[in-house]
């Protein structure tokens, strides 16, 4: 499944840690927004658990939106950027 992750984290150090974890699951499309394509249920839970350990639950927030194929097809944007990467493979 495709998951959109947005966060607001006060402390710089824990923010860096969170970013490092998210980078291993998906692509940073905005300062505090990541797109994680092709996550399995298992991998999503692993990601969520490791993120929860890093944040201060009294003042930080992370939100996860699961998007289906149909939603992704209706994606639009203004300004810079491109379409979300969907596949489970990457060619360089």
């Amino acid at each position: 499944m495709f998951c959109l992750v947005c966060f607001d984290i006060v402390d710089d150090r824990s923010r860096q840690r969170v970013v490092k974890v998210l980078k291993s699951y998906g692509e940073r499309v905005q300062k505090s927004v990541f797109e994680c394509p092709g996550l399995s249920e298992e991998r999503f839970l692993k990601m969520k658990n490791s993120l929860e350990d890093m944040i201060d639950v009294s003042e930080d927030t992370i939100r996860y939106y699961h998007l289906c194929k149909a939603c992704l097809r209706r994606f639009e944007f203004s300004g810079i950027g491109g379409k979300p990467e969907e596949g489970t493979f990457r060619i360089l």
Binding site: K20, V21, K23, S24, Y25, G26, E27, C36, G38, S40, R43, M47, G87, T88, F89, R90, I91, L92
Partner: protein, 348 residues
């Protein structure tokens, strides 16, 4: 990301946490999330840092090195699979001549059956009598497999069927820019053959990975003779996919006009025979351009991830997993011949 292909010549991979950075000329050109990585294909001149190697080993990522023209170079050998009993069963069973012959028969029958079904389908679509006749010929050859009493004759029959198939192959090409006058390899002499060789390499690697995942020894098969360094079991088990995966990918690219002859580099006056493997690599008569390589790999991946239903009762899966399921079925058959191995029957 489940599989990553690096085709960028001179790229250098670095690790950062659990993501990979691709560096070229001192600049980071891309960052790829590497969580859940299963397969890494490195094409041509690419290098890795120690950290990346560490990551690949820790996570048991299937790492394959191939040349830009798609020939296999090397793979990262992680330690042997722990399933000794299975490999032992494989050596014992495939050493019995009767069992080996029977297994080879099953494989050849599966292959010819798929070719026949494919030709028949196209014959209907294009309303082409020659293809229909070819399909009937192949069907009868598939039927004749059962009566064959030794391996050499079986290999002859398989060669025969393949020849019939490739004699008709030009009817399947619906793009006037490409011509096909028969299959040739080592080296391929024209674009269509170059593409076929490339896709067969990718498929054979796919099967090789699946075989290693189940714990079988890829170097001992039955239809292909054992020779030093040839993964003969992978060559055996790839036969059933060649036609409906490999050939269809190539034909799809050609017929949908995704490729043109401009995507290839031609070398004039390459020698007719080659002294060494090295010389053959250096003086290939035809080669894909890098941009074409990318298009090719993309459509290959798209097909491999295509959703299909498989088995009885049917489960939802994709072609890549299908190859793994089939290898597991083959392993079960080696351990207990009462459970027959059935090559995948492709239906459009």
């Amino acid at each position: 990301m489940e599989s990553i292909y690096v085709l960028e010549p001179g790229a250098y991979l670095r690790r950062e946490g659990r993501s990979l950075k691709v560096v070229k000329g001192g600049k980071v050109i891309q960052e790829i999330p590497a969580e859940g990585l299963k397969k890494l294909m490195l094409v041509g001149y690419v290098s890795l840092s120690g950290g990346v190697l560490d990551f690949l080993i820790q996570n048991r990522v299937e790492t394959v090195f191939i040349t830009p023209s798609g020939r296999f170079r090397a793979r990262l050998a992680l330690d042997e699979h722990r399933h000794v009993a299975l490999r032992k069963a494989q050596y014992v069973r495939l050493s019995e001549p009767g069992f080996a012959l029977n297994t080879a028969r099953i494989i050849v029958q599966g292959k010819i059956g798929n070719m026949a079904r494919f030709l028949l389908l196209r014959a209907r679509q294009y309303n082409n009598e020659a293809l229909r006749i070819g399909a009937v010929k192949l069907k009868s050859l598939a039927g004749a497999v059962r009566g064959i009493q030794n391996l050499d004759m079986l290999r002859g029959l398989e060669g025969n069927a393949t020849r019939i198939y490739f004699e008709l192959f030009h009817y399947l090409i619906r793009n006037s820019l490409f011509e096909f006058h028969g299959r040739n390899r080592r080296p391929p002499l024209d674009p269509v053959n170059a593409m076929l060789s490339f896709v067969y390499t990718l498929l054979t690697n796919e099967v090789l990975s699946a075989i290693k995942t189940c714990g079988l020894d890829p170097y001992l098969g039955c239809l292909h003779e054992v020779s030093y360094g040839r993964p003969s079991l992978a060559c055996d088990l790839v036969e059933e996919y060649r036609c409906f995966l490999g050939d269809r990918i190539v034909l799809g690219l050609i017929n949908r006009k995704a490729v043109t002859p401009d995507d290839f580099v031609f070398r004039k006056n390459s020698p007719d025979n080659y002294v060494t493997e090295e010389e053959m690599k250096a003086k290939r008569p035809v080669e894909m351009k890098p941009s074409m390589n990318r298009v090719f790999v993309k459509s290959y991946e798209r097909v491999m991830n295509k959703r299909i239903r498989y088995g009885n009762p049917p489960i939802k899966t994709n072609y890549r997993m299908l190859i793994l399921h089939q290898s597991r079925a083959f392993a079960r058959y080696l351990e207990d011949p009462e459970t027959p191995y059935v090559p995948f029957e492709w239906e459009a």
